[in-house]
Amino acid sequence: MLDNLKLLFEYAPIMNVQVILDGIFVGAVFALSAYGLALVWGVMNVKNLAQGDFVIVGGYIALALYEYLGIHPIVSIPIVLILMFAYGWAVYKLIIKRVIGNDMFISLLATFGLSLLMQQVMNLIFGPEVRIIDPKLPIYEFFDFVTVPMAKIISLILAAIFALIITLFMKKSRMGQAIRATAQDARAARVLGINTDNVYAFTFALNAAICGVAGVLVSMIWVLQPFYGITYSLRTFAIVTAAGLGNLPAVIGTGFGLGLIEKYTSIILGVEYEIAAAVLMLLVVLMWRQIQMRKHRQVVR
């Protein structure tokens, strides 16, 4: 560990650039799926523990399209979007709809069960080996030590574009407004004629689509494995918990922040500690909240 620290700060400070860039690239994907989670959480009060698995599924769909139909991942994004949207809609209608009103833990456990199911199906179809897609794009080198694959740059750009589209959609479109109205007060929305069930279905499906896109990006810049989903789920929870629900800029910022934290942890302590860093961030934020609330004699709910 000390050696790694020395490497970063004494011998080759230029490596910091690499770590920071890697952190940003991966953080963009985190931020995207965190946004989706915040959406579902804020609108339907469903804490989707299968979030990470939706991401991985998206990645695997891109993988399948690439291997069997030769479609490049970037091109496959619209297809994945549609497929994941449909999938999300189906999951809502079959499962989520029935557990929304309930005891909070039931909805959490339902999504956890879904996560288990999805992981196992993916394991059966694709096997437990780690898979990646070679995007066959150029890799740039700077300053001798810094390598930046074009794929990562494109991924960042795509993530940004996508986030922008979603934000515009939420602000301008009728459905976007309906979603925001329902999030604020579902009963009032119903009184005003909004079909909240459709809104919920759309929101959940939209989240699945967002995750799907994030998954495609992951397939290009990172790795896919059926059981990695849960680590993504934990990360997105950590981000949303730290940033708060309503605050889009904070979610994005925290997403990048976590990416940086993870990459630095990875360099200094080792790859296995990445998820430990995310969990630690989650626990630290929650502890901090507790301490703050104690001043007001309240508890964190």
């Binding site: 001043k295 007001h296 004699r297 309240q298």
Partner: protein, 248 residues
């Protein structure tokens, strides 16, 4: 004047812009029944919440039995002998009535033997006795969540008695109760005060009830203490009448 068991001095509390309590001072005499009245939204429940530790106060002091409690937690305050009932009646809704009662014993001397005490015997007896006192004995084995609202209110009251508190703060005890049952409840409140020696502090909207029950009354309006005194004094107080009828 006797010894005030609750001494509220210059307490203020705001919620993001709304000044719910402004410089409130109040004394509750030990062994008495004190009433708190005032139009809706004047800050009565907020005052209760401040006293029992539900939220922090912005300024002022609250003393219970001469001990400063304004920085203590709800649990600590309850263990000192200061309990409250809730406006929306809170009970353990998946447990039956007897169990609700049994777990409501005082936890002041929390010893290990008490933690693991068996559920038969003296505690159960006392629980059943109190259930009979409030008229719920025949329903004692039912799940409390299945009781009617009025019955749950009685259960909550019985649970408070089980705890043998020194002071009990009751938040609108007659609200939502069938008028024919109100007299019964008043009787029980009086008995709890006279026979069991529990000091009561009651928020009430029902003037007939509170004027007959309480020996001292405090009237709040718009977050401030408007008037205080004996029931007869307040009944004829212009300001109190205005606060209710004049209503802003």
């Amino acid at each position: 004047m006797g010894n005030p068991i609750i001494n509220v001095e210059n307490v203020s509390k705001s919620y993001g812009g709304v000044k719910a309590n402004m410089d409130i001072s109040m004394k509750v005499e030990a062994g008495s029944i004190t009433g708190i009245i005032g139009p809706n939204g004047c800050g009565k429940t907020t005052l209760f919440n401040s006293i029992v530790g539900y939220h922090a106060i912005d300024s002022g002091s609250i003393k219970f039995d001469n001990q400063e409690i304004s920085k203590l937690w709800v649990g600590d305050i309850a263990r000192l002998g200061l309990l409250r009932t809730f406006q929306q009646t809170r009970i353990y809704n998946k447990m039956n009535c007897v169990d609700n009662m049994q777990i409501s014993i005082s936890h002041r001397k929390g010893s290990a033997s008490k933690m693991f005490a068996s559920r038969k015997g003296e505690i159960k007896d006392r629980a059943e006795h109190l259930l009979e006192f409030v008229g719920l004995y025949s329903k004692r084995n039912l799940i409390s969540g299945d009781l009617s609202f009025g019955q749950q209110k009685l259960l909550e009251f019985a649970m408070a008695l089980m705890n043998e508190p020194k002071v009990l703060l009751l938040d609108e005890p007659t609200a939502g109760i069938n008028p024919t049952l109100i007299n019964g409840l008043i009787d029980r409140l009086r008995k709890a005060n006279e026979e069991l020696g529990i000091t009561l502090c009651v928020i009430e909207h029902n003037m007939r009830v509170i004027m007959n029950l309480a020996s001292d009354i405090y009237c709040l309006s718009n977050g401030k203490m408007l008037a205080s005194g004996k029931p007869s004094e307040l009944q004829n107080d212009e300001r109190v009448i205005d606060a209710y009828l004049g209503g802003h």
